[in-house]
Amino acid sequence: MGDGSGRGSGKSSKPEWLQQYDLLGKIGEGTYGLVFLARIKSNANRGKSIAIKKFKLSKDGDGVSPTAIREIMLLREISHENVVLLVNVHINLVDMSLYLAFDYAEHDLYEIIRHHRDKVNQPINQYTVKSLLWQLLNGLNYLHSNWIMHRDLKPSNILVMGDGDEQGVVKIADFGLARIYQAPLKPLSDNGVVVTIWYRSPELLLGTKHYTSAVDMWAVGCIFAELLTLKPLFQGAEVKATQNPFQLDQLDKIFKVLGHPTPEKWPTLVNLPHWQSDVQHIQGRKYESPGLYNVVHLSPKSPAYDLLSKMLEFDPRKRITAAQALEHEYFRVEPLPGINVFATGQPGAVNYPTRPVDTTADFEGTTLLQPSQLVNSGNAVANNMAGSHGMANRSASRPMHMVGMPRMPTQAMGPYNMASQAGMGGGTNPGGLPLQRGVAPQSHQQQQLRRKDPGPGPTGYNPPQQKRRYG
């Protein structure tokens, strides 16, 4: 009994749950684990692409990975067209590893930006940038109005759906660092370092004990600039092996572009630990500000620049919120944002490459046994999602659409009444498009992927998760 050779278990080489998929190969890898691409075998959704995210076992032998548990518990509660939807949870009881199944998204901002920088050699279409940003903010506003902070926004975590019913729809992914920040039991800084360094806000870098959803908005600002210029706005070199979020080079990069923060503009600055303690390096240096608008090549009078500068406000209390950003003039002037970010309405649309699939990768840990007698037999999450794929596929062709023309039929969303969310109503919809609820309910999809983003040399760009502490 003690050796796990459980009676009544299937003795196949693959766990039972995996047999409902055709495994195609590995598509991603990160500190949390691996991501595989698979297709559903069953008739109802035959051929539908699924991304399976496998979590590494928790290192310290302290039970189920808290990262996985966080992601599952948050995704179980939320439902929004611009947030990934968890389709299923599978458990490999033999080694207590968890597998999260998401619908597959072919693109992400990291790849889109890279494609433009390295292959196309021209900026991303304005309509596409604006639509990407609008949908990102729309998803983030939903999260924030539900007291969820993402805490790891960066281009590779912002997915975009490929061909299909939801073509060109943004999905915020990777909730492994996300948390609810309503009435926390402990200071948030106890959770350890959050946000990948290039997208980390100044208050985090300066060691604030408490922080707010404004950290996500800083990251959105960085992403916005990157969409415009095709390169990271603040490419600081990360000093590894430090247990605090303080990164001098990163602050240096920020101050070089935005100028030096002052207690006049940011009153609580003087209370931040690293501002106080590192007078020589941080307070001592003088920066000539070349002006953000020069860096991003925008007119200082343009609505785009105005919005960007409000996202990159030093004082988190003055920084624009997601709800406010959605109301910004930028989204009210042409081109209006739309539901399919690729539908530019102009000839010569960019064809983005599909994700490379490593077919040689081994789906490790799956040659073991799967107990078949569980109450939920590893499909715990599926029960209330039955029928989530039940809709017949519409044409997968890629008709061109007029700018801002919604492709999706307006349909009621799933079980949650999103209209009651702050900012979810028509008020935030600049073009009067049925953006919020116009997405077909069967396909809140996502896949999760965190590639090893190339960093600036050896100092690298690894996500900070491994430094996370709990408790």
């Binding site: 009994m1 459980g6 009676r7 039970g63 007291w147 039991l185 569980l374 715990a380």
Partner: protein
């Protein structure tokens, strides 16, 4: 999550008293069937987390009379109640915040909507529920630390972790009325009407009314009227009083088992879980009496 209205808690885990009775009955019935078929009820959770159900009885499996007798629904309930108090004791011993205690309790209650205490011994599940609550509420405590603090085997805590999550359907965000209580106690002027679900709201008010009845701080009914007036309630005073009374009746019905009752039930459940080791476990129990407080001292401390 701030929004109870759209939560998994509200959508999937609010039951009527009748539904609860049904669920307990079904769990009890499943365990009894297992006992009939296999002669034992324990669902073994192995070191790696896999579940093993009892072996079917071979023909020589002993005569009917020596068979363990199953617990009935009421006995199961008493055992659960006892361990629900134990959760509170343990959380207080660790000085955990209310929220963790409430979450652990909720997990424990939800778990035993799926299983009978004859299948998973509640002491083990109780510890895992506390451990899981700490993890989910971002107040991480290692299993080892937790086990040490209450002199229990921490491996048992870990073994059961996945089965607990799974039995909860991974609906791990739960709501407790503490925030509502605080809200009323402070008489917050714009008490967040929409954000607090009605159930939480009523539970908070019911608790405050009971405590007011004991201490007589204010005229509760006129306070309720003022709340209703200020909050544009959809409810009339009499409707609100009715639901508070219903909660009160529920509380009055709450019965805490005596030490003797408990000992008897515990013996019974142990013989159901694993009849063959009954004698062994008796011996073990005697031994462990010296180490940890057991037997009659284990009686509930609360009220």
């Amino acid at each position: 999550m701030a929004d109870f209205q759209t939560s998994s808690h509200r959508a999937r885990w609010i039951f009527t008293p009748q539904e609860l009775v049904e669920k307990y009955k079904e769990a009890n019935q499943r365990a009894i069937e297992a006992l009939d078929k296999f002669g034992a009820t324990r669902v073994e959770v192995d070191i790696d987390g896999t579940l093993t159900y009892p072996e079917p009885l071979s023909g020589t499996g002993g005569d009917k009379h020596s068979r363990a007798k199953p617990l009935n629904v009421d006995e199961e309930k008493l055992l659960r109640v006892f361990y629900e108090y134990k959760i509170q004791d343990a959380c207080q011993a660790f000085d955990f915040p209310h929220k963790i205690q409430a979450t652990a309790l909720m997990y424990f209650k939800r778990f035993y909507l799926q299983w009978s205490v004859m299948q998973h011994y509640p002491k083990n599940i109780m510890l895992t529920c506390i451990y899981a609550a700490c993890k989910i509420e971002e107040n991480h405590v290692s299993a080892e630390e937790l086990g040490k603090g209450i002199s229990q085997d921490h491996q048992m805590i870990l073994n059961n972790e996945m089965i607990v999550y799974q039995s909860l359907d991974f609906d791990l965000i739960v709501y407790a009325p503490y925030r509502s209580v605080e809200g009323f106690v402070n008489d917050m002027e714009d008490f967040c009407q929409a954000e607090n679900g009605l159930q939480m709201f009523q539970l908070a008010l019911a608790a405050l009314r009971r405590s007011n009845n004991a201490h007589g701080v204010l005229d509760f009914e006129s306070y309720l009227s003022s709340v209703i007036a200020r909050q544009n309630f959809l409810h009339t005073l009499s409707e609100l009083l009715e639901s508070l009374d219903a909660i009160d009746v529920w509380i009055e019905k709450h019965y805490i088992p005596t030490a003797d009752e408990l000992k008897r039930i515990d013996r019974k459940v142990k013989s159901c879980l694993d009849p063959s080791s009954h004698d062994k476990s008796k011996k073990r129990e005697k031994k462990s009496k010296h180490k940890s407080k057991r037997g009659s001292e284990e009686a509930p401390s609360g009220g």
